[in-house]
Symmetry: C2
Subunit: 180 residues, 2 copies
Amino acid sequence: MGERRDGSRVDGGDEAEAVSRFVERFAAQLVQAGMARMPARVFAALLSSERGALTSAELGEQLRVSPAAVSGAVRYLSQVDMVSREREPGSRRERYRVQGDQWYDVLLKRDSILRNWQETMREGVEHFGPDSPQGRRINDSLEFFRFLEKELGSLMQRWAAHRAEHLEDQGLSDSSRRRP
Amino acid sequence: MGERRDGSRVDGGDEAEAVSRFVERFAAQLVQAGMARMPARVFAALLSSERGALTSAELGEQLRVSPAAVSGAVRYLSQVDMVSREREPGSRRERYRVQGDQWYDVLLKRDSILRNWQETMREGVEHFGPDSPQGRRINDSLEFFRFLEKELGSLMQRWAAHRAEHLEDQGLSDSSRRRP
DNA sequence: CGCTTACTTCATAAATTTATGAAGTTAAGA
DNA sequence: TCTTAACTTCATAAATTTATGAAGTAAGCG
């Protein structure tokens, strides 16, 4: 049964089209959540590929965009650690691979953003004074973020435990391949 | 000591300028998190105002934007329940007020977005089949979001408890004023 | 009642973002 | 060493977003 290396089947472009629909739909939701369009599409395509990895040319073909666009998207995605790049020795082709724990990482990253917010709010409270109406109001927000940060920490620990448990059952040791 | 109704002081535009710096800085961080610029600025300005409420004209003056821009931003902010509108009887002026628990609400809203993602991913798994590499990979993501949704639920409950406790101590019964 | 003020809506101008083609860089293979 | 393929960079064109002015609507006040 003729499969190509991007996971689509030769028999029936219907399959390729269905995959594309899923990719675009999922990408649209990532965009809605604040991600730039092209990185979102690339990421969704990788997630939907058989091996979880595609070359620049394959991505360009599936998404119908220029190599330049792929290059930019992939640069962003590796900066934020959502894909890793692997260069196969003996070839000029580079492969881009989705990590097994992208979401965990994304959430961890949010953590540092939270801390920036807290810093700004702290300055606000300091400026207005903790007993001014403004100071108190901003301090309330600050309190929520402090709470959130603390909770996210333990939440992530619980996830790590949960994940480890389920990974044992299935053969998904993808995480051993993390970080170049 | 001469205070104006936007909370800035007549003595020394330095104060107004310092507030503006904080407003713009905080707004920039909201933008970074995915919020549109004008709603972010309006929200930050309200948060930094003495009463936690400003009129359209006051917002326009402080942010140096047209009434039209204020109108658009405020429409968005009330749609997502981050500000409430109150029309003082006997005046055409409308006041826009920040809620006491905006962040809680924002997080609750994320919850429904999470569910949309899950639906899309479920379709992906179904399409590829749960035993295909793609299906398994997407299912892993799905698993994380399921976990997250569950955890967010209990997290919010803990926050509600935490908040209630601290509100008793201080006189911050702002929450009694929620929702028009 | 009509005048006036506060706000909204909508077409459009301005600014920003996004993806491209073309030129440049690096490294494989002959 | 030279050729060529794979990818990157950069200036720019296209598309989208954002804020505006002008015209419109509603509500207080004389």
